[in-house]
C-alpha cells in the first residue's frame, strides 16, 4: 500500500466530523421522527465516508457505508419508513464505524463489518416488500395537498368521499378509462383532488389504482360505488367518508417542512446537485467566521515557547535590576528598562491571544451527551428530555477534555438516580418525561456549568443517616449539620445515595471523585436540591488551565506556588498563640478556629526551628473550609505558566503541576484540595 500517513490525519479528522454529524442526525431523527433533511444529511455523511475510505483503502469502512447509504437512499425515496428498529440499527452502524475509526487510529486490523452489513441488507430487503405491501393494502394516506383541500371542505360542512378505483389488469387504455370514470364522478359532485393527475401522466403502464376526493351533497356512498362499478375495466371500487387526518396547526407546520423538503429534492439527483444543496450551508458558515484547522501539538508548542519567553522576560527584568543597583543611573539603562517594559507588554498580549486560540466552544463536549442520555434512558425505561444551553461558551481545550468525565458522571447520575420512572412521575403529578438540563455560561472570570434535573431530589435526612451508618460522621455531628453541609456529605469519599447500585452509573466511582476531578482543575462544585422537585449541580471553572496567578512561598529551601484564587488572607502568627485540639495545632482568627499546618511537614521536610517567633501564614480556603499553612518566607505573587508533571509522574497528592521561574528553576504548584485532604485525613 502506498504511504498515506499524510492523508490519514486529514481523513481521520474528516471521519471524526462525519461521525459527529451522523450521531446528531440519528438522534434528531429519533426525536423528531423522519424528516428528509436529516436523512439527506445522514446520506451525505455516509456518502462522504464511503468516498474517502475507499480512497484510503479502508474497504471495511467503505462496504459498511455503502450498504448504509443504500438503505438511506431508500428512506429518502420513501421506499422505506423510519422506525425505532431502524434507529437502533443506525446507532449500531455508527458504533461500528466508531470501532473502525478506533482501529484505524491505532493502526490495528479492522474488524469485520459483515454482521452489520447483513443486518442492513436484511432491512432493505424485508422492508421494501413490506412497505410496498402496506402501501397497497392501506389504500394509503393522502398527500398533504389533498389533506388541505379536504380540511377546507369539511370545515365548510360538506361531505367528502374518497373513491378508490382499481382497474383490471388487462385494461388497454387506462388513461382513457380513468377519464370516463372521472366524468361520471363529476356528475355527483365536485372533484377536489385526484391521483394520478391525468394531465401529468404520460405513460399509463404503471397505473393500477386511482383515487378521487369528491365533495357531494346528499349522495349515498353506495350510489357512487354502483355508478363506478358498472363501468368497463373497473376491477373494484371503494368509497369512504373522509375526515382530515391531522389537527390543523400541526399540519401547517408539516406543510412548511414539506415545502422545504421539496426544495431539497433536486439535491438527490447526484454529485453536482448534491454540491448545490451543500452551498447554502457553506455560505452561511463562511459568513459566520473564517477558521483554519491547527494541529493541537503545534499550538502547544507555541504556548511552550511563549512560556519560555515569559520566563526570559522575568529574568531580563531581574538582570536590569541588578545592573541598575551595580552601576546606578545611565541613559542606556533607562532605555533598557523601557525596552523591557515594552517587551513585557507585548508578551502579555501575545500570551492572551494564544490562550484565546486554545479556547473552544463547549459544544464539542456537549455533543457527546445526547447519545449517552438516549441509550441510558432506553436501558432504564425512562423518558428523558435532554436540554442543552450555552454550547457556544468558550473555554480552554484542556479544560473541555478534563471536565468531560465529571460531567458524564453527573449526567448519568441525573438520569439514573435523579429522574424517576414514568409511572412514579405520573403519580406525583409530573409529566412522564423528565428533563435533564445542561447549561454553560461565562460569569466574571469563570465558566459556570450546570447539570440539573427535575427528578426526585435528594433527601438530606437520608444522607445524614447514611453518613452515620457508613461511619463518615457521628450521629452528633450529623445533627449539627445545616442543610447545605448535610447535602455536601454526598461528596465524601465512599458515599453513594443509590439504594441499589445500578450497573449503568455505578461504575465504581462516587461523587467524591467528581469533586476531586473538578477541584484538580481549580474549580468548585456545589449542589442544590429540593425533594420532589429536582437537583442542581453547579460547577465553576477557571477559563484556562494554562496560566494562573500564584503566590510564591518558600519552605525548606524549595519554592512552592499557591494558587491565588484559593488564598483567603496572609497573616503573621506568633507560634506561641497556637492551640492544640485533639493533638493537632489550630489557630484562632476572628473567633474562627482554623487547622494549622507547616508546609514542610506536609511534604516530609524538616523544619528549621527558631528564628523569629512570628511566622508567615497563608490562609487558604475552599468552599467553607479553611486551612492555615505556615511557610518560611513569602516571595510575592506572579503569573505562572502551568505545566503538568506528565503522566509518568502521575497524580501527586497536594501538587497540581509545576512552573519554571525567572531564574530557570522549577517551582511546584500546590493543589488546594489535596492539601486540605492531607491536612485533615478526610476533608
Amino acid at each position: 500500500m502506498f504511504d498515506n500517513s499524510e492523508f490519514r490525519q486529514v481523513f481521520l479528522e474528516e471521519l471524526e466530523e462525519q461521525i459527529m454529524t451522523m450521531e446528531e442526525e440519528i438522534l434528531s431523527l429519533e426525536k423528531q421522527g423522519s424528516h428528509s433533511e436529516g436523512i439527506q444529511r445522514l446520506f451525505r455523511a455516509a456518502h462522504t465516508i464511503k468516498g474517502s475510505s475507499a480512497a484510503m483503502g479502508y474497504m471495511e469502512l467503505k462496504q459498511l457505508t455503502h450498504e448504509w447509504e443504500h438503505l438511506l437512499d431508500m428512506l429518502r425515496n420513501e421506499e422505506l419508513a423510519m422506525s425505532r428498529e431502524l434507529t437502533n440499527l443506525f446507532f449500531q452502524c455508527l458504533d461500528f464505524i466508531k470501532d473502525l475509526q478506533n482501529s484505524i487510529i491505532h493502526e490495528e486490523l479492522l474488524p469485520d463489518p459483515s454482521a452489520v452489513i447483513k443486518e442492513l441488507e436484511r432491512f432493505s430487503k424485508a422492508n421494501t416488500e413490506s412497505v410496498a405491501a402496506a402501501k397497497e393494502a392501506a389504500g394509503d394516506a393522502l398527500p398533504e395537498e389533498a389533506e388541505q383541500v379536504l380540511r377546507e371542505f369539511i370545515h365548510n360542512g360538506q361531505t367528502v368521499y374518497r373513491v378508490t378505483v382499481k382497474l383490471t389488469e388487462d385494461c388497454m387504455m387506462k388513461l382513457a378509462r380513468i377519464s370516463i370514470i372521472d366524468i361520471s364522478l363529476r356528475a355527483f359532485g365536485e372533484v377536489l383532488w385526484n391521483e394520478p393527475n391525468m394531465k401529468l401522466v404520460q405513460d399509463d403502464q404503471d397505473i393500477h389504482a386511482v383515487r378521487w376526493l369528491i365533495a357531494t351533497q346528499e349522495v349515498e356512498p353506495l350510489v357512487l360505488e354502483q355508478a363506478v362499478a358498472g363501468l368497463m375495466d373497473v376491477h373494484s371500487v371503494r368509497v369512504e367518508a373522509m375526515q382530515p387526518s391531522q389537527p390543523e396547526a400541526e399540519t401547517a407546520a408539516a406543510l412548511e417542512q414539506e415545502q422545504d423538503n421539496a426544495d431539497m429534492l433536486p439535491g438527490f439527483a447526484g454529485g453536482a446537485a448534491e454540491e448545490a444543496a451543500d452551498k447554502p450551508q457553506q455560505s452561511k458558515a463562511s459568513m459566520k467566521q473564517q477558521t483554519i484547522r491547527v494541529n493541537v501539538e503545534r499550538l502547544e508548542n507555541v504556548l511552550d515557547l511563549l512560556g519560555e519567553l515569559v520566563i526570559d522576560q522575568t529574568r531580563l527584568k531581574q538582570a536590569i535590576q541588578t545592573l541598575h543597583q551595580a552601576h546606578g543611573y545611565s541613559e542606556t539603562m533607562d532605555d533598557l528598562g523601557e525596552i523591557s517594559d515594552h517587551l513585557s507588554r507585548l508578551i502579555g498580549s501575545l500570551q492572551e491571544n494564544v490562550l484565546k486560540v486554545r479556547m473552544l466552544p463547549i459544544e464539542q463536549l456537549f455533543s457527546r451527551f445526547p447519545r449517552m442520555v438516549r441509550d441510558l434512558a432506553q436501558t432504564l425505561n425512562k423518558n428523558v428530555d435532554l436540554q442543552m444551553v450555552g454550547g457556544d461558551t468558550e473555554l480552554d481545550r484542556t479544560l473541555i477534555e478534563e471536565v468531560g468525565d465529571p460531567m458524564i458522571h453527573l449526567i448519568r447520575n441525573a438520569v439514573d438516580h435523579g429522574i424517576e420512572m414514568p409511572e412514579e412521575r405520573q403519580k406525583s403529578g409530573k409529566p412522564e418525561q423528565g428533563i435533564v438540563r445542561i447549561s454553560a455560561a461565562h460569569e466574571d472570570n469563570q465558566v459556570v456549568v450546570v447539570v440539573e434535573d427535575d427528578g426526585g431530589g435528594i433527601d438530606t435526612n437520608k444522607l445524614r443517616k447514611s453518613a452515620v451508618a457508613k461511619g463518615v460522621i457521628t450521629a452528633e455531628e450529623a445533627a449539627l449539620l445545616d442543610e447545605h453541609k448535610a447535602l455536601r456529605l454526598i461528596f465524601h469519599p465512599g458515599f453513594s445515595t443509590a439504594s441499589q447500585l445500578s450497573d449503568v452509573s455505578g461504575r465504581g466511582v462516587g461523587m467524591d471523585i467528581v469533586r476531586t476531578d473538578i477541584e484538580r482543575l481549580g474549580g468548585i462544585i456545589d449542589i442544590d436540591t429540593t425533594v420532589g422537585v429536582g437537583t442542581k449541580f453547579t460547577i465553576r471553572l477557571p477559563l484556562t488551565l494554562a496560566i494562573t496567578t500564584g503566590l510564591l512561598v518558600k519552605a525548606s529551601d524549595q519554592t512552592f506556588i499557591l494558587p491565588m484564587s484559593a488564598v483567603v488572607e496572609i497573616i503573621r502568627v506568633d507560634t506561641s498563640t497556637l492551640k492544640m485540639i485533639k493533638g493537632s495545632p489550630v489557630i484562632k482568627i476572628r473567633n474562627q478556629i482554623v487547622p494549622f499546618v507547616w508546609l514542610h511537614e506536609m511534604f516530609g521536610y524538616s523544619r528549621t526551628e527558631g528564628g523569629s517567633e512570628k511566622i508567615p501564614v497563608v490562609m487558604i480556603g475552599r468552599a467553607e473550609q479553611r486551612l492555615a499553612i505556615a511557610v518560611d518566607q513569602l516571595l510575592g505573587n506572579q503569573e505562572v505558566v502551568i505545566k503538568t508533571l506528565g503522566s509518568y509522574v502521575g497524580k501527586v497528592d497536594g501538587i497540581s503541576g509545576a512552573t519554571i521561574l525567572g531564574n530557570g528553576r522549577i517551582a511546584l504548584i500546590l493543589e488546594i484540595g489535596g492539601l486540605m485532604k492531607k491536612a485533615s485525613g478526610i476533608s
Binding site: 524549595q558 508533571l645 506528565g646 528553576r665
Partner: protein
C-alpha cells in the same frame, strides 16, 4: 538476527556495573541538573528538571536497582529517553561510549540481584558484560 550485533548502544556505568541503552532510544545526554524534588512520589523518581523550558522527570537507576544512594559527581549524567511520548531522564554515574556488541546473550533470570526482566540481553564486549536495558520495562509504572 543478522545486524543485531551491529546496533549501536550507549554504554554507561552505575556503581560497578555497566549498562547499555539502544542509541535509537536515547534522546540526549546531559550533565547533572538541579533537580526539584517532588514529595510523595515513587521512590525512584528523584524529581523534575528544566530541560530547555520543558519539565521532565528524572529517575534513579540506583534506587530502582536497590543500590546505594546516589552520589552525584562531575561524571554524573542524565540520559534522556523517550517513553510513551514523554521525555524521561535516567541518572547514571558516568557515560562511557557508544559501542556495538559482537554477541548478545539472553538475560538470565537475575542479573547480579536485579530482576532479569529489566534487560533485553547481556551484551559482550572484549573486556566486559553489559546489561542492555529494556527501557519500557525499566520505566514501567505499577
Amino acid at each position: 538476527m543478522q545486524g543485531v550485533e551491529q546496533m549501536q548502544y550507549v554504554q554507561f556505568g552505575v556503581g560497578e556495573e555497566s549498562y547499555g541503552i539502544r542509541i535509537a532510544e536515547v534522546h540526549e545526554i546531559i550533565r547533572m541538573q538541579e533537580i526539584t524534588e517532588i514529595p510523595n512520589c515513587q521512590f525512584y523518581v528523584k524529581g523534575v528538571i528544566n530541560l530547555r523550558g520543558k519539565i521532565i522527570p528524572v529517575i534513579s537507576l540506583r534506587a530502582l536497582f536497590s543500590l546505594d544512594e546516589d552520589v552525584y559527581s562531575k561524571a554524573t549524567r542524565i540520559v534522556v529517553v523517550h517513553h510513551q511520548e514523554e521525555s524521561i531522564g535516567i541518572i547514571v554515574d558516568r557515560v562511557h561510549k557508544v559501542t556495538t556488541f559482537h554477541d548478545i546473550q539472553p538475560p538470565p533470570e537475575r542479573v547480579g540481584g536485579i530482576n532479569g526482566a529489566y534487560f533485553t540481553g547481556i551484551g559482550l564486549t572484549e573486556s566486559e558484560l553489559v546489561g542492555i536495558l529494556k527501557i519500557d520495562e525499566v520505566l514501567l509504572r505499577d
